[in-house]
Amino acid sequence: MKGVNGIVLEVNLTTRSISKVKIKEDDYRLFLGGRALGMKLLSDYLKKPGTDPASDENPLMFMPGLFCGFPIPNSSRTCMVTKSPMTSPLKSTHQHASTVSYSNMGGFIGPEIKFAGYDGIVIIGRSTVPVYLYIEDEVVEIRDASQFWTMGTNQFETAIISEVGDRRFETAYIGSGAVNGVLYSSVINTGARAAGRGGTGYVMGTKKLKAIVVRGTQMPEVYDHKQYVELLKQVRLSFAADSQSKTDWRYGGTANALQFSSDRGSQAVKNYSEGTFSEIEKINVHAARQQVWKRDMACYSCQLSCKKSGFAKGAYGGLVNEGIEYETGTMLGANLLVNDLNGLHTMIEIADDYGIDIITLGNVIGFLMECYDKKLIDKSFLDGIDLTWGNVDASIQLIHQIGKNVGIGKEASRGVKHLASVIGKGSSDFAIHVKGHELAAWNVQGYAKGFGISYTTANRGACHMTGGEISGQNLSVLRDSMGMCSFASAWYKDEVHFRHFIQALTGIDLTEEAFQQTGERMFNLERALNCREGFTRMDDVLPERFFKDAYTIGPQKGVKLEKVDFDKMMDDYYTRRGWNLQSGIPEPETLQRLELAFLQ
């Protein structure tokens, strides 16, 4: 088949065997690549439900999207796919039941995996000693990583390039957080581009795999070369035209949304108790642009350069590898009532160096701040840290305890669901997670239809990238499977639709209807795998906070969710999905229609 490499690299770290696994043409047709192809492979590897995510049997996959490596603008995205170490159902007969996990990153690692001749890398088994995986086209070696094992991400990135002696290698790695056993650890590539969510870095740590280091020199032939060249030209021309959207992305990336979201009352503020942050101007995009950011950075073949680096001044001064984004700026800023822009950048920097997920981290700190404020816990519970709202120094101390997994960090490194079970006293009402995975920076009150549904129905536990509309959810997993950046969709319409690129690369000719159905199939595959573990409708629930605590400030003041209304929305959702209204499990006819009968 054209347009793909046709194989994934399988590396067994227990037996140290390396093999190439051929992918069936039908699997490309049904799942394209990236996230969904990874999920199909996951369903093949996980023979039975209840596999321990930290065991030899749980595969960890690096899955570049179908377009990855082709210079199609903004198509560098790569998914980590594994079984989640973070989630659990309310009830299950399987001890280690958990959802699927996926986490998406941009950068350069995915294209390089494709250049090396693979459509993905699957790690199975576990090494007894720290190793890294070295890949140079056909050459694949499992190498000793003892001297790198405990390094933070900044030090490691420099050290590994010195080790291999060639800057053309691309790398993906874990920081010391994963090494120390922080459950919500990320996989990071190329200077703070993180597959942040879902604990994929933790799984990598359990396999004693510090990094993959890849260089490749090949590219597969495409199915219709003339069409491919023409489409590339058209889409580049469309990006080249001036547009406000392009200007905005380059100016501020997702941080543009900090002010907007606060203004309309949809931001996670003070552990999700409010939707508006009164001091947002101090940490918004304009403040960052003027005071901290120096550079715009792009992923492979990216036209929008939303990533920023710079330099923070003052007491928290220093190098900023990763400027604030909407998520990081909200979760460690507004959600903690932190109004110090330099301090905020420093907190992000420290968390990135440990390689831990800042969305969950912001939840954990916010949750503990609220517990401390409400006197459910005292200073001694927090190793003496005076964790008051907005306190940057205290937050930094706590991040270090978490990253090192010591003291309070031993509990806090497991997320808010676990913390609530330790603290009790009704704290679970404001432990902001779904299925054990924390919510992201978009608040729910007043925006239930969008984000409420996104959080409850997302297949990795709470996820802000899933979307509240079924068609949007299907497109979201399609994008992750093609490797497309979700910010670039506006430039792919009409004659340069994603479908046309799929056709030119592979010959897979999808009608608009078939394209939509491919996304539906992908989403249902994940759902069916979760249901096999024991997840049902009763796990698709939001924290109590959203039904109890109305906002006290902002344009949405007084707003909270009503259970009856939300249940009705969920009823409607399951019905339109073709899932059983009571159990939330995909009906056999639904799986049959989507060519997923193998999951029954």
């Binding site: 800057r167 053309r168 036209q303």
Partner: protein, 220 residues
């Protein structure tokens, strides 16, 4: 390159003018043949997207379909411009500087052809680009070594040791310049005030990291 060899090369390159560059990581002499146009990079604007690599590769490795030439797939491994990434974050695209003294050509040990007067590696008269006659190249890697140690490490040996990576200027219409999404690349006549001429990317990176992050990095 020291002052002595610089002056020697200057003597060999008729029609050249010499400039003293103090804007780089180290004091550095460079030369230019009057009217020579080259790819010039504004390192403050580069975002590291590597679109230039893909279009360079596609433009210089065309595919013949039924007798008609089309741009290739865009494999960056075949590109003549390379974006080098550094940490703290700096992305440094480097392609052939078209050095007037061409240490790569000087290093080529192959005797000049009696008719053309060219060594295996030679400067093409039309655009001043560096070309290799693969029929006569002996694969000794002297040119790539010279470029690596004296200039920007632009030339890389292929499997047979023959040089790759010399900029062709796409016959006068450089595609990297045309398609750079961030206007970081220009096709300009070389002038004395241009910073970072003929420098190794490592040295350019140190300079740019210092600018971006107010780092007090010791200059090499």
């Amino acid at each position: 390159m020291n002052r002595k060899s610089f002056l020697q090369h200057l003597g060999l390159a008729a029609g050249s003018t010499a400039f003293l560059s103090v804007t780089g990581g180290a004091t550095h002499f460079f030369t230019a043949i009057s009217g020579t146009k080259a790819i010039v990079v504004d390192y403050a604007l580069c975002t590291g997207c590597r679109t230039c690599e893909a279009v360079c590769s596609a433009s210089n490795h065309k595919i013949d379909i039924e007798g008609q030439l089309f741009h290739g797939q865009g494999n960056p491994a075949l590109s003549n411009i390379k974006v080098w990434r550094y940490h703290p974050p700096a992305d440094i695209p480097v392609t052939c500087f078209l050095c007037a003294d061409a240490p790569c050509v000087a290093a080529c040990p192959v005797k000049p052809d009696p008719v053309s007067g060219h060594k295996a590696l030679y400067r093409d008269a039309a655009l001043q680009t560096i070309k290799c006659d693969l029929n006569r190249c002996i694969g000794c890697q002297s040119c790539s070594d010279a470029c690596k140690t004296e200039r920007g490490q632009v030339i890389f040996p292929d499997d047979e040791g023959s040089p790759t990576g010399m900029c062709t200027l796409c016959h006068g219409d450089p595609q990297c310049v045309q398609w750079c999404p961030y206007q970081a690349l220009s096709f300009l006549e070389i002038t004395p005030d241009m910073p970072f001429r003929e420098m190794h990317p490592d040295a350019i990176a140190i300079e740019m990291q210092g600018n971006f992050y107010e780092l007090n990095i010791q200059k090499q």
